[in-house]
Every structure is written in C-alpha cells, then in structure tokens.
Amino acid sequence: MIGNNSVLKLEDVSKIYKMDGLFVKALDNVSLAIKEGEFVSIIGPSGSGKSTLMHIIGCLDVPTSGKVTLEHHEVSKMTERELAHIRNKKIGFVFQQFNLLPRTSALENASLPLVYNGTAESDVQKKAKEALEKVGLGERLDHHPNQLSGGQQQRVAIARALVTDPAIILADEPTGNLDSKSGVEVMEIFKKLHQQGRTIVLVTHDQNTASQAQRTIKLKDGKIVS
C-alpha cells in the first residue's frame, strides 16, 4: 500500500481530542500513502474522522502520534509557523463554502496565497491570471464573488488552489454547496487537472462524487475500512 514515489505518507497516525473531560480517538492508527498524480477520494459518514484526517493531510493540524511525511518534510513535528509555510507551498485548498474574500475581485482572490510567500508583484498578477484561465474564468478577472454563480465562485477557489503549483489539491466537499449542474462542471475540472498530472484528494460523504476518483479510501470510526 505504501509506494515509493508517494507525495504524502501517513504512518500509524492517531489523533486524540479531549472533549468535556473525555478522550475521543478521532483517528486510530491510520496509515496511507498518496502517490504523485493520484486522484483519491476519502469517504465516510459524519463522525468517521474524515475531517480530522483532512486537517492532518492539509497540514492544518498535527497528529497525537504517528508520522506524516509530505515530500520528504516530516509534517508531524512541525511548529505552527512551519505548518503555515508548508500549507502555502504544498497544499491547495478547496472548501465547501468557497471561502472567497467578499468585495474582492476574482484575480485578487486567486492571488491570495502568492501574497503570503513573497512572490514578486509582477508575477502575482500573471500567475493568478493563468490559474483563472485554466478554470475557464479568463474573462471574469475583475468580477467580485457576488457577481459570480456558485459554480464560478468554486472555480475561482480552484484557481486559488492551483496558483502556487501545490503538491496536493485538497478539496473538502467541493460540490456540497452547488446545484447538480455546477457540481458536474466542478468535478470535470478536477478530472481535467488529474489528467494533467495533479495530485488530488477529495473529501466527501457522497458516494457518487467519491466514485469519480481513481481510488476511494473509506473511513469509519477513525479507521480505514477499505
């Protein structure tokens, strides 16, 4: 299961939360590897530890025990500041709620991650424009989120995820807030990106969406079931 050319590797990862004095084991000895260029979906009902796994893959959190490696970086031992840097360089987030900045143009929204890694200002605009062109929004650079449909907003968010050329694109229920037509459009974009060699991790509770990936990881009670 653990390949040699893996981008991301989780080894015996556990995460324990303390809630109201009780210890809750959200992840229980999870091991997995994601290879370069893979399109993987993670599926599970709510309470399965899906979100916790996503936070650890997205370098938003570190495990209580176990080892997480992202392209030779041992993420599990990183400080908050180091995690911020690795998120900026290696992870492209796509959220269910889009999370675009209001009253801010598509171009500026897409360029947001570049602002945090010291990219030269002349490059920022160029790269953000290229990323928006990739998701078919080259004509709407100056539109604000409230002038865009839900599907278009999610495409801006995908452009924002692409702009830093990350190792992994991590999408959390990307179609959850969209009508079925827009949902299909967004999934098409993910498939296209996969064909271009992107590594994509899709977190969802929807079997249909999950099945469109190359490989599905099923999670239940903090453990991988298949």
């Binding site: 997205g58 938003l60 500041r81 911020a84 998120r87 945090y116 010291g118």
Partner: protein
C-alpha cells in the same frame, strides 16, 4: 511577506468598511484636535503676555503698592494667595513724593507714575466706559509711544493740573470717526478735557494695550478721582544688567518713607518667570484634559478592532489555511489599528491647526511644533497599545476553528 503588501491588505480592509473606519478614527481626530487646539490656546496666551511684557522693555523696574510675594502666586499656590497679594492696591500708600525720591537714584534714567480709574468718556452723542490713566510726561519716553496726531502733555501741564487728554487710537476712532479730534473737547465724568494728541495704533488686547485708554496729567486725575496716592511707578535704567543692582536701592529709599508691607519692587524677569510658569501649568492642564478624549478614542479603536476580528474570523481562518503565519496576521491587524489612529491623528492635527487658525481671530493662539509631534506620537502609540489585544486575538485563532465559524 513584504510589509508593502500587508499595508495594502490592511488598507483594503479599512476601505471596505469606510464609514465604520471613519467613525472609529473620529474618536482620535477629536482627541488630537482638542489637544492641539487647547495647547495652542495655552501657549498662545503665554507668547502674547510674554511679548507684551517684553515690549515694555527689559530695563524696567516696577513699584506697586502692597506686599506681593511672587513665589506665592506661582503654580502650587492656590488662587487665594494671588488675590490676596493684589488686594492692597486699592489702599495704596505710594505717593508722587515717592517718585521724586526714586528719581534721585543716579542709576535711574527715567521714571513715570500712574494712577488708573474707570470713567465714561463722552463726545457729542458717543459715550464709552474706558480706563483713564493719569500719568506724567515721561510716559512717552518709557513706553516709546508714537503719535498719530498731535503730541503728549508737557511737564508744565502736569504741574499745573490742566484738563488735557491724549486718546488711544481705538477710542479716538470710536468717538470721532473721520473727524479730527485735535482741539476738540471730550467729557470725562463731569469735566471737559481738551484733546492734545492721538496715539498710534499698537494692536493687541488687554491691560497692556494703550489703544482703548485715555491719558491725562496725573495731577488732574488725582483731583478728579479724589486720590492722593498712585497705582504704579515705572523706573527705567540704562540697560538690562542694571536692573538687579538697582532694585535694592529703590527698596532702601522707599523703606525710609514707607512700611515694608506697603510697597513691592518688581523686575521684569521675576514677573515674566512667574507668569510663564503659571501659563505653563495652565497649558499642561488643558492638554491633559484633552488627552483624556484621546484615550477614549483609543478605546474606540480597540472596541472596533475586536468586533472586526470576530466578524472576520472566517477570513482569518482562510488566510491562515493559505499560509499566513500568526505573525503576519498580528501585523496585519496592528497595521489596521495604527492606520486608524495615525490617520485620525493627522486629520486631528489638520483640524486642530485649522481650529487654532480660526480661533486666532478672537484670541492669541500658537500651534507649537512640540504639541503636533506629541499628538502624532501619542496617537500612533494609542493605535499600537489598543490594537495589540485584538491583533493578538486574531493571530491566535486556530485555522480549523476559524474556518468552521459561522
């Protein structure tokens, strides 16, 4: 992350909430403007009084009735000390003979005595209550007066107690308008006085300006207002250096004739330092009161920044997920707070300065560089001090929690 981009992000956040930003800054604007304005009034008053006194010449010694202890008037003493120090003026025991004795001291070049009284002055239909100053012919030399028309009364007119008068510029204008007052007669109380001259305009207001006063021979004034005593003696020495050695000489002469508590010899330097220390205290007190509003402005900034952090929790979470470190978030919110306070500070300086300029038409004001610098530094500090708590709160938000926040 380069500071320039952080500044841009902060400015944009302030721009998206224009009216709120403006209202928040308003607290600081009012605070800074009132600090600038009130300090300008205080220091304007000081500059005005000091220059008025220096206009009189640095080589003057004053003799006033009563026992005045300048140390008791200065800051730290209550107003009671000041009023009791001057209360004895009305029962002056100084007389014209004392002036003659003082004039015998060789260091004294010139001297003048004055009595003061209030009286209505009338010409045709016009009437004004004014201050009448009875004095001697030396007044012109000591005050270096210039004349618009005519001249001053002479020694013989003083000696014979003639009813002649010299008008201040404003009084002449008010009573006569375009008419030539020379040779005309005005009525002071019950008596008619012939006008000999009109003084040139001196400008300024208050007790030191001769513009709205009427001058008559001291003997005439004493008779008309039924006074034997005099209110004030000015003695002039050749140079400022001779002031200090001459003061004890005058005291010695007067001690032979009067009791110690019946007179006080004052020199300019002493009066100036007392007056300016009183005015300094006043300025600081005014500035201190205004500074309280600056503090309130700072609290306003903190309040709004805390609201803003809560409101933008999701945005903070997003920025953190996309790679903003806690330091970057802290800096961003701190810059916002400092922009509000410094922007408010600059606007406050402009409004305060403008206000002082308008006010200067009615009273003396001086906008001092130090008050502008102080206001600027204090407002920037207010931004940092009151911005740090909200900024720290923002920087400590967990990205996971923040992204979940509804």
């Amino acid at each position: 992350m380069p500071i320039r981009q952080l500044v841009r992000v902060s400015l944009k956040a302030l721009q998206t909430n224009k009216s709120r930003s403006l209202l928040t800054a308003l607290g600081v604007i009012i605070g800074v403007a009132s600090v600038i304005l009130l300090i300008s009034v205080g220091s304007g008053l000081k500059t005005f009084i000091t220059s008025e006194m220096q206009d009189m010449g640095s080589n003057l010694i004053m003799v006033v009735p009563g026992d005045i202890d300048l140390d008791k008037i200065g800051p730290g003493a209550g107003g009671g000390a000041a009023s009791s120090a001057f209360s004895s003026i009305s029962s002056s025991k100084l007389e014209l003979d004392d002036l003659e004795e003082i004039e015998k001291i060789p260091q004294i070049e010139d001297s003048v005595a004055m009595v003061m009284a209030s009286s209505p002055v009338r010409y045709k239909g016009e009437s004004k209550i004014t201050q009448v100053i009875g004095t001697t012919e030396n007044y012109v030399n000591i005050r270096k007066s210039e004349f618009e028309k005519g001249g001053f009364f002479t020694k013989s007119e003083v000696n014979s107690g003639r009813k002649v008068a010299v008008l201040g510029y404003k009084i002449a204008e008010d009573l006569f308008g375009e008419e030539n007052p020379l040779g005309e007669k005005v009525k002071l109380g019950e008596y008619r006085y012939q006008i000999m001259g009109v003084l040139e305009e001196k400008g300024g207001q208050g007790s030191m300006s001769p513009d709205d006063k009427v001058f008559v021979p001291i003997t005439t004034a004493q008779r008309q207002f039924d006074q034997d005593n005099i209110s004030l003696i000015f003695a002039q020495v050749r140079s400022g250096d001779e002031v200090s050695p001459t003061v004890p000489l005058i005291e010695e002469v007067l001690k032979r004739r009067l009791k110690e508590e019946d007179f006080t010899v004052l020199d300019q330097k002493e009066i100036l330092s007392t007056v300016s220390s009183i005015l300094d205290t006043l300025t600081i007190a005014l500035g201190g009161i205004a500074a309280i509003s600056l503090l309130v402005g700072g609290i306003g900034i903190m309040n709004i920044m805390l609201v803003s952090v809560t409101e933008r929790t999701r945005e903070i979470g997003l920025r953190k997920a996309l790679g903003a470190t806690p330091e970057v978030i802290l800096t961003q919110f701190l810059i916002e707070a400092v922009f509000l306070s410094v922007g408010g500070g600059i606007a406050g300086i402009i409004f305060g300065g403008g206000g002082a300029l308008i006010l200067s038409k009615f009273m003396p004001t001086t906008v001092t560089l130090w008050s502008v610098m102080l206001a600027f530094i204090v407002s920037a500090t207010v931004g940092i001090v009151f911005g740090i708590t909200p900024a720290r709160r923002a920087s400590r938000l967990s990205p996971i929690e923040a992204l979940r926040y509804e």
